[in-house]
Symmetry: C2
DNA sequence: CCTTTTTCTGCAAACGTTTCCGGCTCCTAT
DNA sequence: ATAGGAGCCGGAAACGTTTGCAGAAAAAGG
């Protein structure tokens, strides 16, 4: 119950609490031999310093709050893994909070993080509503957006790192055009997601430039871009006749759902329908799947985000706002078929 | 920088800090109208109570430490999602720590959790080494094991909830036997995992009872039972001739790796080789995969685990030790083929 | 109207650290 | 010899809460 404290150690070592504190923080004004002696006693007693008390006075918790929509998707899972690693390398701990975007809970989450006195906040794939909320609720806590950045970001005094969603969408359209597709379907972007809005914009702009016919079906089913939603959407789109020869999905998870629906409805992929995903999750590479997709480099994203956030936390430099865009990479597997004559 | 404190609120409201504190904790000895007035002022000022200070004096953080090997596997991801939900329902926060099992870091993790003064510890899928370490390092913090329980658990004064791995392994063997398989391969259990040891035991006992020939190939590749490891293991096992007609993998992720290897090597599943997984992750249900597997009910596991842990944390009942086993469920899809004549 | 109880509020001591400042000892340079 | 400094250590205030205890005001009982 009553754990051993610095005071106990001080008593045993016959020194003051100040000295013990200095030993623990290896301050310069302590004689090496006393330090060693104290540290030895700490080990013997199994002493563990109380972060609560320490943080209370130093007003630094070395904790970074990460709020993301959910962990079920492989993209976010991979991302959080990398975030944790880079944070740890820099001596910080991650506090993971899951709040569905647009949810009321997002407000409680910010309150919670403030109460926890986190040193910084990382807002991942947030709805625009959540993004609006952030500045007013963060109470001066440094924060950076990750993976979901409004186009006017740099004007809005915001720090962010993201993949270049516009380019991602554009690349997708260009790729499908290059394969000879002229009628394409964009299946499943969310209306409230800035990421999806940009991706859609890039896709549509490029499609228009190449004079492709593009239809878009929004995902209003709530929840994330899960396989289940992709399945439901595809079920109803692919049921009858449809003119498109290719579909672009805003996440691999969703694409997998589309794949399932197509399979059940007997439309062959990529025979009748080419399928292009986004994210490059682990399972996209599976032999029976082999989903072509646009890879988001989660490692690079996480690294940049942590790096940027910690700059804000640790430096007391004059405020500056940076927006870092990382370009997605097209990975070709076999879910997209070329419609052009083989000879080219 | 300087955030608003209880003292500020007290000054504005013209009351003492004590009264403000009582308003925030809705203590019974406060007049409802003063409480309302104070709460209103708190809202107006955007006041957020400092959990650090509160926890320091109350010696309750309402934080549960969860340590698990990693988050990349879908099973652990799903589990942590449920853990977070149930904990939140009870007013607790999850502090997620990833440490590969058997790693030196596990020791640091315990120290970290003690320093954070978490109210309880949930040790998920831990190596036996980590389990040994726990009691000595937990410093009296209540803790429960989840998903990886040594057979002598109840003797060892330990709280745990787990799927019944022995039964799981036994069910797998019995199922394969029922389909007519006589030569089977158990591909990829880890030597240092209690889970895998039990599952293996159940598998081997049952195989022996039915006079099947069972070979086991351990996973000494380090890291988790990932798809990558399954792939590597299967690559070398399936390269030449092999007598087995079925393989049992200790996780779906691993099974997916096996699937990939089989595909590349041209051995048909389930034509030449039946494949049985474990976990029932989301992607096992995919149309082109349709992996037969033993489902671990992550929801039930998580619920029981936080339930048990919070009993220990909140009650000051006499110490008791409970071990809860949840039976895995066989879900048949189409990765296992019957070798028996169709009539039957 | 005076006591007794009840209801509400405030004072001050904790909780376990860090850190400013001041003091002691011993060394070095004048 | 003595001043000045460097190196090491301790006292005490602070961080923002909770809580036991006591006091004041109001209500209840005679």
């Amino acid at each position: 119950m009553a754990r051993t404290t610095i005071k106990d150690i001080a008593r045993i070592a016959g020194v003051s609490v100040t000295t013990v504190s200095r030993a623990l923080n290896d301050a310069p004004e302590i004689r090496p031999e006393t330090r060693e002696r104290i540290l030895r006693i700490c080990r013997e007693q199994g002493f563990r310093i109380n972060y609560l008390a320490r943080s209370l006075v130093s007003s630094r918790t070395h904790v970074l709050g990460v709020v993301l929509p959910d962990l079920s998707g492989p993209f976010h899972a991979a991302l959080s893994l990398h975030l944790e690693r880079y944070a740890r390398e820099r001596g910080y701990q991650i506090l993971l909070c899951c709040g569905r975007p647009g949810d009321d809970r997002i407000d409680d989450l910010f309150a919670f993080l403030v109460s926890q006195r986190v040193d910084g906040i990382l807002l991942v794939s947030a709805s625009s509503a959540a993004q609006e909320l952030l500045p007013s609720r963060a109470q001066g806590i440094p924060s950076v957006l990750l993976g979901d950045v409004p186009p006017e970001a740099s004007c809005r005094r915001i720090n962010a790192v993201s993949t270049d969603n516009y380019v991602g969408g554009a690349t997708a359209a260009a790729y499908l055009h290059r394969l000879g597709h002229r009628q394409v379907l964009y299946l499943g972007p969310r209306r409230d997601s800035v990421t999806h809005a940009l991706r859609l914009q890039g896709f549509l702009d490029t499609a228009a430039a190449w004079q492709m016919e593009a239809q878009v079906v929004y995902n209003d089913l709530g929840a994330a871009s899960s396989a289940a939603n992709g399945y439901r959407l595809a079920r109803q789109m692919l049921a009858g006749d449809f003119p498109q020869t290719a579909v672009f999905a805003p996440s691999d998870a969703m694409a997998l759902g589309v794949l399932q629906a197509a399979d059940e409805l007997g439309v062959s992929v990529p025979g009748r329908l080419s399928l292009l995903g986004y994210d490059d999750i682990e399972y996209a590479a599976l032999p029976k799947i082999r989903l072509s997709t646009l890879a988001q480099p989660t490692g690079a994203l996480a690294r940049s985000a942590v790096q940027l956030l910690l700059e804000l936390v640790e430096e007391d430099a004059p405020p500056s706002y940076t927006l870092k865009l990382i370009t997605p990479r097209l990975v070709e597997r076999s879910s997209c078929r070329s419609l052009l004559p083989a000879g080219r």
